[in-house]
Symmetry: C2
DNA sequence: CTCCCTGTTCGGTATTGATGAACGGCGTTC
DNA sequence: GAACGCCGTTCATCAATACCGAACAGGGAG
């Protein structure tokens, strides 16, 4: 493992999580390396546009180069590319916003967001990163992961972001079993108070889960008995079509049960 | 300058521009370093989630970690944060889509995109990176840059993306002078056939240009005499308000003329 | 079955990045 | 207003470490 690169990324991560700007000294303290080392890293990152120095305070913040790279990732992402049209379809069918997400480490990264049709002001959530256990997308994906990986997720830290977030591994495990049976996952205000979600897994040509697609919206509209089943069927159906687009075998997801 | 970091970013850039996936060998050839070196870089980048390896082909592509960092940049971006509400206002006022952008190197990076109100399907352009000379945003920003920097831009390569794109430095220089006088810039299908743009510069508390805000839409709607002036005034007004939000002095932009 | 190409591993070498100490500018405090 | 303390920055020393050539293992094509 290349140490310098590892540290450079550590610097970027720290800049991302911490306050808008950080100084060399504070940065050096946080990641536990000498000040001049951090300085050298920052200078190279700055030359590449990954970091910008505030000319007034001398402090550093993330740079625009990262957006370009991030966008390049999104553009090259096959699931996302293929999902765009399906997401629009699903949004129009159900009248709700649609998220497409993938699992990264222990979080769900939203790679596409189709707005609720004709709606009022909506914030774009593409790029958002959510604890896997607090959203339907995360549960839908986790349920169909290889047993090994799923156990890792359940064994790790389970964050709570609302009072309804589930941080009990056993309860989550039971939910995931159920998800495997019915083919979709729900969340009830576990991510955002007042909002719920319905999501289903998406598989690629090897039959592995590569992500998920699902609805997000007010619980009163999405999770009431009358709408829930209809929405769930629509979500599952679109997820299946999307999987087929990606070349998934018809029985994808079956073998993951266990 | 830290060599390893420089090379790692070079790898990411190459992955971003080239085909969806690249192999170690091809990557090594492109950036001119030994194969095992590239391999080591890729392994660390993979461990950090900046790159993922296609388990089937062994090739590498960009990873989701980049989106997280890119998004963190956007969130921490003061211009963008402050611009969101102004962009919505401007979109509703004019009925057109609004872009907020900054200059990075020789391109304009779109950091925010407010959709045309009530419109049909629209692609989100946040993260897009355009040659500076082909869009109103770029001209608006360039016009108010320090003379030195502006000359650099004019002296460098001027890309053409449509038949209407301007690649003549002198003609551009004349346009920029005019932009400085009227306070806004235009583009007429220089970026996209059928689309035009109107943009104005935004200044920060030091009085330097930090970006621009502007309209994008069909030439028939945006650039016809009846609409153009009205739109231009709205854009300039919003840009000024936004600049004041950022703490810019009232006369920002005046001193840059020359 | 064979060849060639790929991604990968290994270990030695010296390049190169890490470090502590010192400088200069700035805001703060007394 | 002056002295202090903090910050970002530079420099030269040292050895850790990242680079590379050569060799290995696994596929795909012919």
């Amino acid at each position: 493992m290349v140490q310098a690169v590892h540290r450079a990324i550590h610097v970027l991560r720290e800049l991302a999580t911490a306050a808008p700007r950080l100084g060399v000294t504070e940065l050096a303290d946080r990641i536990g390396v000498a000040k001049p080392t951090v300085h050298a890293l920052l200078r190279t990152l700055e030359a590449e546009g990954m970091v910008v120095q505030d000319r007034e305070t001398g402090r550093y913040q993330l740079g625009p180069g990262l957006v370009v790279l991030g966008n390049a990732y999104l553009d090259s992402h096959e699931l996302r590319t293929r999902a765009v049209t399906w997401a629009d379809l699903l949004a129009n069918q159900t009248g709700a916003a649609v998220w497409v997400g993938v699992l990264t480490d222990r979080r769900i990264l939203v790679v596409h967001h189709a707005f609720r049709p004709g709606g009022s002001v909506q914030v774009l959530e593409t790029g958002a990163s959510l604890p896997w256990n607090t959203c339907a997308l995360g549960k839908a994906i986790a349920a169909f992961l290889p047993t090994e990986r799923r156990k890792e997720l359940l064994a790790g830290e389970l964050l709570r972001v609302t009072g309804a977030s589930i941080d009990d591994p056993e309860r989550l495990a039971t939910q995931l079993e159920n998800v495997r049976e019915i083919g979709y996952a729900l969340d009830d205000q576990e991510l955002t108070l007042g909002d719920g979600g319905i999501a289903a897994p998406v598989f690629d040509r090897t039959g592995d889960v590569v992500g998920g697609i699902g609805l997000v919206g007010p619980v009163e509209r999405l999770l009431v008995d009358s709408a829930r089943q209809e929405c769930a069927i629509a979500v599952r159906e679109v997820a299946r079509s999307l999987s087929r687009d990606l070349g998934a075998p018809r029985n994808a997801g079956l073998r993951a049960s266990g």
